[in-house]
């Protein structure tokens, strides 16, 4: 438990000792927000890591080949991810439920095996060396982005677009009969999710001296889904909380040494069985329910 002890008694050394972890929590929060957007619109997509890979590789390639700074790389990466989303989305978005999830998973893996592992420009199986990596400087943009995006998406869910998405999620046919352009709205959610994921990828790549294809495989895609479901999918803060908690969990469980992974799985199992609606839901944050808690529908 000295994880928490140190966090509260000596934040400065906690920060310096866990920079990489804190950065990862931020990146995973961004990914969680990305999947939240699509889930909110009623789509179960697992393409986040594929778009993340596009953002990461684009940013790194621009950095090492054209010496463009992170800001340019991040924008280019997320735009390219959005383009990919547009191309994939057209045929795929008419699928529903788990089929959409599997199709997007299939896209991610096909992209990884077909493209990333085999093109010289992506370094083939070895990935790319990111000589411009900067761990210290990378954390701040990540967390600023998390805060800003959380707020923006929250506003979005309260807007007319957000209400349209919620309506589509409940009942697509009814929503269409109300005059909502379901196809366009679906694509909008998918694109927004891709933009955020691509952006997250670029920031994540900046933190590491290497980008390689194994980081963007199915286990990570499923992991992002777990952040969202464990955190709670009704409210944008849910996936963020889920991401922060689950990313930190292995480190919190450090004392469990050899059995860390087993305990990790056990905690996951227990949370989902006893609180299937997620940690953050209409009832509040697990056991706390502050007075200002917005009574969003979950």
């Amino acid at each position: 438990m000295d994880f928490f002890v140190q966090l509260f008694t000596d934040p400065a050394s906690f920060y310096s000792g866990h920079e990489l972890l804190i950065a990862q929590m931020g990146v995973n929060s961004l990914l969680a927000i990305s999947i939240f957007v699509t889930l909110y619109a009623g789509q179960l997509t697992l393409a986040q890591v594929g778009f993340m890979a596009i953002g990461a590789y684009t940013s790194v390639i621009l950095n090492i080949d054209a010496r463009l700074p992170l800001a340019v790389g991040a924008v280019a990466g997320s735009l390219l991810a959005a383009v990919a989303a547009l191309i994939i989305g057209l045929p795929v978005l008419r699928l529903r439920g788990i089929f959409l999830a599997i199709a997007t998973l299939g896209f991610g893996e096909a992209f990884r095996f077909g493209v990333l592992l085999n093109l010289p420009i992506t370094g083939e199986g070895q990935g790319l060396t990111n000589t411009g990596a900067d761990i210290e400087g990378g954390i701040v943009p990540v967390w600023i982005s998390v805060v800003i995006l959380t707020y923006l998406i929250f506003c979005l869910t309260r807007s007319r677009t957000g209400r349209a998405w919620a309506a589509m999620r409940e009942d697509e046919a009814a929503a269409a009969s109300q005059g909502i352009n379901v196809v366009a709205m679906k694509m909008a959610a998918f694109l927004l999710g891709a933009l955020i994921a691509g952006y997250a990828g670029a920031l994540d790549a900046h933190l590491s001296f290497f980008v390689d294809p194994t980081e963007y495989a199915t286990p990570r895609a499923v992991g992002v889904l777990i952040f969202a479901v464990v955190g709670g999918t009704g409210f944008v803060l849910g996936p963020v909380v889920g991401a922060i908690f689950l990313t930190a969990l292995p480190e919190i469980l450090r004392f469990a040494a050899d059995y860390r992974d087993a305990v990790n799985g056990l905690i996951l199992l227990l949370i989902i069985i006893f609180r299937p609606q997620g940690l953050v839901s209409r009832g509040g944050l697990a056991i706390i329910r502050p007075r200002w808690w917005p009574l969003a529908r979950s």
Binding site: G106, F113, N118, D261
Partner: protein, 304 residues
């Protein structure tokens, strides 16, 4: 060329065995059971434990593997699925509960060493092992210049036999009818007097036993048993196959398994060895876009 065709058939059998269990649970119960791969691995581990660690005969190892796997099916139902059904939880949570269970199982085996509390079951931690040579009869046939290990033939026979038996069960028995009813509409089935809970348990037991069987045969034929078989590649292939073949269709899972294997081997023979894994997913993606119900599936389910 002929040898590669044999490879494809053999590979297809393994894929098919794995996928059949998967498709039963998904097609009938609407649950994607991601603990399936952990049970697959556990089957191999148990069989190795009997044969490799304790020197028992292979048939005993196989029996133990089937029993333990079937038991795991009950564990999955009672620990992960039933509590969520009782709470009326969203279907996605069942998926994640099975993931949690799988993590625990793999982690426990991974950490198990000689002298540990699970040391009687598995002593090799993360290391891959194989059945001791000679512990399993494996005559090698030489036919027309091709080399056919007897194990591979056995696997092919088992797969086809299972497909026929399962197909018959689903079509012609009352259990099969109940399964189809539940697959159609759970609530209606319950109202009609079908004990849905019992059916869940039954389906999970059957599917997990199949997973365990596939695991033993896999470990035997590929000389590779470790805590990680089943994860990643095999699991994802299983997913691709049930989509290709059609959710809930046993025939589809088997045909899909062989079809995928043939496509993959063809890609390798054509020289694109590093694209093999991508093929499965490209095929998956295309099938979903062009024909979501797969080759033999009958309905497209809508479920979030």
């Amino acid at each position: 060329m002929g040898q590669q065709l044999l490879n494809a058939i053999f590979l297809g059998s393994i894929y098919a065995l794995f996928a059949v269990g998967y498709t039963l649970v998904f097609g009938v119960l609407d649950v994607l059971n991601l603990a399936h791969s952990a049970v697959f691995m556990l089957g191999a581990v148990v069989a190795y434990s009997i044969v490799g660690l304790h020197g028992g005969p292979f048939w005993l190892g196989m029996l133990a593997a089937l029993t333990v796997s079937a038991g795991m099916g009950l564990v999955i139902e009672f620990v992960a699925l039933r509590p969520l059904r009782r709470r009326g939880a969203p279907p996605l949570s069942a998926l994640i509960a099975t993931i949690g269970l799988a993590l625990i199982i793999v982690a426990l085996i991974e950490q198990s060493h000689a002298g540990g509390w699970l040391g009687w079951l598995w002593q090799d931690g993360a290391n891959p092992v194989r059945f001791p040579p000679g512990s399993v009869p494996n005559p090698i046939l030489h036919v027309a210049g091709l080399i056919i290990p007897g194990d591979d033939i056995a696997i092919g026979i088992v797969t086809v036999a299972l497909m026929l038996i399962l197909g018959w069960i689903v079509r012609a028995t009352s259990v099969g009818r109940a399964l189809r009813a539940v697959a159609e509409n759970q609530r209606a089935s319950r109202l009609m007097g079908i004990d849905v809970d019992r059916l869940f348990a039954l389906t999970l037991v059957g599917s997990s036993a199949l997973a365990g069987l596939a695991g033993v045969l896999f470990g035997l034929a590929l000389s590779d048993i470790d805590p990680y078989i089943g994860r990643d590649q095999v699991e994802l292939r299983g997913l691709a196959i049930i989509v290709l073949g059609g959710m809930g269709s046993v025939t589809g899972a088997v045909v899909g398994g062989y079809l995928l294997a043939i496509i993959e081997v063809a890609v390798i023979v054509a020289g694109y060895t590093n694209l093999r894994a991508g093929v499965a997913f490209a095929a998956l993606f295309l099938m979903l876009v062009l024909r979501p119900q797969g080759l033999f599936g009958s309905r497209v389910q809508e479920r979030l």
